[in-house]
Every structure is written in structure tokens, then in C-alpha cells.
């Protein structure tokens, strides 16, 4: 049974929060590391020392996240490589006040823009300006000033993400995989090998200081092939996407609604790798009395309460089929049902399932039985599960999934085994006469599925 499940990653160093949502591709079955696709991210620069209304929030897609990671990583490397590190011949006059310490050598202090137009620039030892390129919004403006600690945390969050994606836990093998003809496995394996190799090269390149970054506008595209087997190269995406004119708009998102987990309000944090709570730093004089958490955020998998976008996402010109085109090629070859684009597949399955659903006394709206049917077709209790998983699912008016709240820790732990659709994906039929609905989903360890309307 093909399954594509949502991935949520949240990285919470003290001064920023990086949230990444993605789909886990079924192609992960062949890869040493799971392969993620349709990655979206939200970065909040939420340093406790900065007033809340000045927190910059940046959202974007995989290519932009890769560009951001490349730019920050390259810049950090430039900062570290700056001669100031070890040069003992001081050839610059150094004022006493640190605030005006000379900037790092200007020729090395700038990382240049990539396809996304992100660049960073040093302003003395302790200040850095990040130019957001096409990630800029009306709220952020074209650039934001970062302190060294913010830069450090941002770089770590991005590094954690880059590592984590390749380190995602392996899925259990599923039966359908064994039915795929051998030649198709070989073809898929080749693609995966290319993808993984390229991502390895990318990781090397990422940290490797590369002055060419500046002058090579294709850097962003070439360096972001982390999921080459399942992702459309940014160049193709760009062709398929009208240029973004307004800085207030993000580039077209992938199909569906961009999830917007509420920063700082995760409804459930799954403590498999718990976020390290902020620990107060030891006070060292009166000015050191605010908490100085020290451990970069461990990735935490969360299912956050989601909210609709503050402003409507730009209408995506790309149809789901376009997104699925490349991703499904190996599967086409394999002849597996994987070939169906996810949204399309889900949509059709949901609609097929609906009429077959057994109704119950709690089915006050048809979507309750549709959700039940959806999971009855997918829910196979994983080995070792000995408790019931409960989720509160919020449906949007158009029948898409708006929010997932795992109600117990185990529910969060096993979220990726449930066959849960992605936020924004077609799921059930549109709601009639109501804006939203909340449905409780109960997945028993014996395979039973129950649903009822919460509100």
C-alpha cells in the first residue's frame, strides 16, 4: 500500500524557530535515507530580546530553504575564515569600542546572492545583515539585522535540518514493494543513488567556502538537488511559475494550503528528541541576567495547530499533476500505484470511499464516515503498538485537512504510520453549511477505526 505521510520538523534554537513540513516520498523505500518532497518551511527570528512585533517570519519552499542554508553556511564559513581569526599582523586601526570594531574584511564578509537572492553582510564583528532576496515580505523588508548569536542559531537550525532530512528514520517495508518488478527497482535505485550522491556533494559544497557562489546565479538550483529523485529542479519550477513581482508574495506554493503552525504554540511536542528547554545562564553581573539557553534546538517533531494563511496564498499555477510528474516517473516504470500523484490519488480514493462507508449514529455530517473510510483503507497497526492513537482532525470548508492534533504522545510518535494526508491535500468532500469541522479519529491497535464529530 503506497503511503505518503506528512513530516513535521521543528528546530528551536534560542533565537529562532525553523519549521519544516514535507511529504515523505514512497521512494524512501529504496533509499538509505527517507526522501522528502514538497518541502515548505517557516522561519521565525523570535529572539527573546527582540520585541515580538519585530520578529521576522519568512516562508518558502524547498529551493528557497536550500538557498538560505547555502547562503548562511557559506557566510558563516567566510566569517570564520576571516583573517581576523588568527592574523597576528594587525593592519587595521581598531577603535576601542567593540560596537565599532572594524568590519570583517569586506571582500570576504559578504556572501553573495544565489538564485533566491539571499545574501549576508558583516557589520563589524557582532552584526550581520541578511538580505532576504525573494523571501522578503512586507513585514521583514528587504533585509534584517542579525546578532552573532542569531546568526549562530540560524546556521545551526539550517544545519540540523540538512542533516535531519537525511537522517530520518527508515520506514518499515511494506508489502507492495516486493511486487515491483526487479527492473523497476533497479531504475528507481539508480535515481535514488543519483539523488543521494548529489545531496552528499551538496553537503560538501555547502560548507566548503566557494567564492563562486557570488558569481554563479545557478548556484541555488545546482545546490538544491537534495531530493533529485522526487523534486522538480528549481529551474523547472521557475519556468512553470510566473515571476514573483510583489515582494509581499511568496512564490507559488505546492498544491494545497501552506501549513502555518502557530509559532511557539505547538499543541503536541513529541519528545522523541525533546526540545531542550531554555536554561537560565549563570548570572555574571547585572547584565547577564536573562536566560542564556545553550543547546541548539534538537529537532522536535510536532503536529501544530494550524491556522489558515493570513492572506490567501497566491493561486498556484501548477497543478498537482505537474508536481507529481517527475516524482512519479520511477513509479510509472514500476507500474505501481505510486504513479498517481498524491493529491489526485487521495481525492479519488476519498470520493470512492465515501459511498462505501458504514454509517454510524455519530455520523452527523458525511465527512465523519468519509474520514473513517479513508483510514479503514489505510490503517495497519504497526508492530509493537499496544495503545490507541487518537487525533483531532480539523477540516477546512473545502474538505481539505487543516490541522492535526495528536492527543497523546504515542499519537505523535506514530503519526507517520497512520497514512495521514498532508495538510491542504484533498481529503474528504467539501463541508456543507459550515466553515470548519473537527473530527476525532481513533485508531485502535487491533486495526479498528472510529471517528466522530467533535464540533
Amino acid at each position: 500500500m503506497p503511503r505518503s505521510v506528512s513530516l513535521f520538523r521543528r528546530y528551536t534554537p534560542p533565537t529562532c524557530t525553523l519549521e519544516v513540513t514535507a511529504k515523505r516520498s514512497p521512494l524512501s523505500q529504496w533509499a538509505a535515507q527517507p526522501v522528502a518532497k514538497d518541502i515548505r518551511f517557516q522561519l521565525s527570528l523570535d529572539a527573546p530580546t527582540v520585541p515580538k512585533d519585530q520578529w521576522a517570519v519568512i516562508k518558502g519552499d524547498r529551493a528557497q530553504l536550500a538557498d538560505l542554508g547555502d547562503a548562511v553556511s557559506a557566510y558563516v564559513q567566510r566569517v570564520l575564515e576571516d583573517p581576523g581569526t588568527t592574523e597576528v599582523e594587525f593592519d587595521r586601526p581598531t577603535p576601542h569600542a567593540i560596537a565599532t570594531l572594524p568590519a570583517l574584511a569586506t571582500q570576504t564578509a559578504v556572501t553573495a546572492s544565489n538564485a533566491t537572492g539571499i545574501s549576508l553582510q558583516a557589520q563589524g564583528l557582532l552584526k550581520h545583515t541578511i538580505h532576504w532576496g525573494n523571501l522578503a515580505t512586507a513585514e521583514t523588508g528587504p533585509s534584517t539585522q542579525l546578532s552573532t548569536l542569531q546568526l549562530f542559531d540560524l546556521a545551526n537550525a539550517l544545519d540540523e535540518y540538512a542533516t535531519d532530512l537525511l537522517d530520518l528514520p527508515e520506514l518499515e517495508s511494506v508489502g507492495w514493494m516486493t511486487k515491483v518488478p526487479n527492473w523497476a527497482q533497479v531504475a528507481a535505485l539508480v535515481l535514488i543513488t543519483v539523488g543521494v550522491s548529489t545531496s552528499a556533494i551538496r553537503l560538501l559544497d555547502q560548507a566548503n567556502p566557494s567564492p563562486q557562489v557570488a558569481s554563479n546565479p545557478s548556484q541555488g538550483a545546482s545546490s538544491s538537488d537534495q531530493q533529485i529523485a522526487t523534486q522538480i529542479p528549481p529551474a523547472i519550477v521557475e519556468k512553470a511559475t510566473p515571476p514573483v513581482v510583489s515582494t509581499e508574495r511568496l512564490p507559488s506554493p505546492s498544491p494545497g494550503i501552506t501549513p502555518h503552525p502557530t509559532p511557539g504554540k505547538p499543541t503536541v511536542a513529541v519528545p522523541t528528541k525533546p526540545t531542550v528547554p531554555s536554561t537560565p545562564g549563570t548570572s555574571s553581573g547585572p547584565i547577564a541576567n536573562y536566560p542564556v539557553p545553550i543547546t541548539p534546538g534538537q529537532p522536535t517533531i510536532i503536529a501544530g495547530e494550524t491556522e489558515p494563511p493570513a492572506q490567501p496564498a497566491p493561486a498556484p499555477p501548477k497543478k498537482p499533476e505537474e508536481f507529481g510528474a517527475i516524482a512519479s516517473r520511477p513509479a510509472d516504470a514500476a507500474g505501481a500505484s505510486l504513479a498517481q500523484p498524491f493529491a489526485q490519488s487521495r481525492s479519488s480514493k476519498a470520493s470512492e470511499a465515501a459511498p462505501k462507508a458504514n454509517s454510524s449514529a455519530f455520523d452527523t455530517i458525511p465527512q465523519v464516515s468519509e474520514v473513517r473510510s479513508y483510514f479503514q483503507n489505510r490503517w495497519t497497526p504497526p508492530d509493537g503498538l499496544d495503545q490507541t492513537l487518537e487525533y483531532s482532525l480539523q477540516l477546512d470548508k473545502d474538505g481539505t485537512l487543516k490541522g492535526i492534533v495528536p492527543l497523546k504522545q504515542a499519537a505523535g510518535d506514530y503519526l507517520d504510520r497512520t497514512g495521514m494526508p498532508l495538510l491542504g491535500d484533498p481529503f474528504v468532500s467539501p463541508l456543507q453549511g459550515r466553515e470548519t469541522a473537527k473530527i476525532r479519529l481513533v485508531l485502535d491497535s487491533n486495526g479498528n477505526v472510529k471517528t466522530f464529530l467533535e464540533e
Binding site: 597576528v88 552573532t148 542533516t163 539557553p293 545553550i294 543547546t295 541548539p296
Partner: protein, 195 residues
């Protein structure tokens, strides 16, 4: 959801080397590594015992086995006073020192972060770092140790040494992260290439 536990630090295999550094480049690498360790000493009072323990934790004790071998490795910094015991640092020893530096920086992550936080605060307030005890102590120890050990210390003004010390402090912050070894290694190689 299960998750893999990452090793605290990357294995030496993630410290790549495209081309063998020439002797001049290795000299630069030696200097930089010695200064990073000096900054750790000045900030956290880390001594050779802790460095040897780190070597043991990292299973590189065959490269850095005892105080004498550690002293000889650090003495290989061409800026050091005296020639006694200077040895040629090879790439594997440099890798081992990178891992040790970052292991120790990671151990002192909280302290380093606090020091950088204070540095940002005094900079915002346009005050001298000496006015904060942690930074003042660090700068004093850095100065003293530098002047005690380095040949060119007389030629460097206190302001210049301050700058160097604060830059090293900020660098230590980045080296204290999980991928610190890689950052330090690449910085060393790049600095060696460009000098």
C-alpha cells in the same frame, strides 16, 4: 517515532582534504589551532589534562597520548617562543586537534554562549568588555598567556590582542555546535590556502 542518535561529533571522515597542505599551509594551521586552544584556556581555564581527556574521549589518543606529545604539537605553532621540541604537524594530528578543540568548545558551550551574549550587550551599550568580569578575565588571561608564549607579542598592541581574543571567542561559539569540527577544519584549510 524513532529517531537516530547522532554522534556527538562527526567522524574524521567528514573533515575532507582535497590536496595535501604544503609546509607553509600546515604552519598556518598549527598557528590557528594553537590560538583556538589558547582562547579556550583563557575563557574556561582548560588545561592539558582536559585536552588529553578529550583526546581519549575522541579515541585519538594515539596521536595525542600524553602531555609531552600535546606540548610538542602545540609548540609546532611557528609563532611560539623557543624552538625546543617543535615537531612537524601532520594532517592526521591536525584533524585530531580540530576534534579536540571542538569537543572542548562543545563542553564549554554554555560559557561561550554567555560570553558572546555579554559581548553583544556591552557592544549595544557601547561599553568596554573589560567592564564585565567574564570578558575582562578572559581578555586578561588571553593577553597574559599570549605574551608569555608568542614571539611577536611585543609587536601587538593590547587593542590588537583584544580584537584577536574577541574574534576567537566568536569563532569558538561556532565551533561549539555539532558541526563545529567541519567548520573549523574548512576554515583552517581555507585560511591556509589564502595566506
Amino acid at each position: 517515532m524513532s529517531s537516530t542518535t547522532k554522534p556527538r561529533f562527526a567522524a574524521p571522515t567528514v573533515l575532507p582534504l582535497d590536496t595535501q597542505p604544503d609546509p607553509h599551509q600546515l604552519d598556518n594551521i598549527k598557528t590557528q589551532l594553537d590560538l583556538v586552544l589558547l582562547a579556550l584556556e583563557a575563557l574556561a581555564g582548560i588545561g592539558s589534562e582536559a585536552m588529553l581527556q578529550a583526546a581519549s574521549d575522541l579515541q585519538v589518543e594515539d596521536l595525542v597520548s600524553d602531555r609531552v606529545s600535546l606540548w610538542r604539537l602545540r609548540q609546532s605553532n611557528p609563532l611560539r617562543k623557543g624552538q625546543g621540541g617543535r615537531k612537524k604537524l601532520d594532517v592526521e594530528e591536525a584533524r585530531a586537534l580540530v576534534l579536540i578543540c571542538c569537543h572542548l568548545a562543545h563542553d564549554q558551550e554554555e560559557l561561550i554562549r554567555r560570553a558572546v551574549t555579554l559581548l553583544e550587550q556591552v557592544a549595544e551599550q557601547n561599553r568596554e568588555p573589560h567592564h564585565v568580569s567574564l570578558l575582562g578575565d578572559y581578555l586578561d588571561k588571553f593577553h597574559n598567556t599570549y605574551q608569555e608564549r608568542m614571539e611577536d607579542s611585543d609587536a601587538s598592541s593590547p587593542t590588537q590582542l583584544n580584537h584577536l581574543a574577541l574574534k576567537l571567542l566568536i569563532d569558538l561559539l561556532f565551533y561549539s555546535a555539532p558541526n563545529g569540527p567541519r567548520r573549523l577544519w574548512l576554515a583552517l584549510l581555507d585560511r591556509a590556502r589564502t595566506q
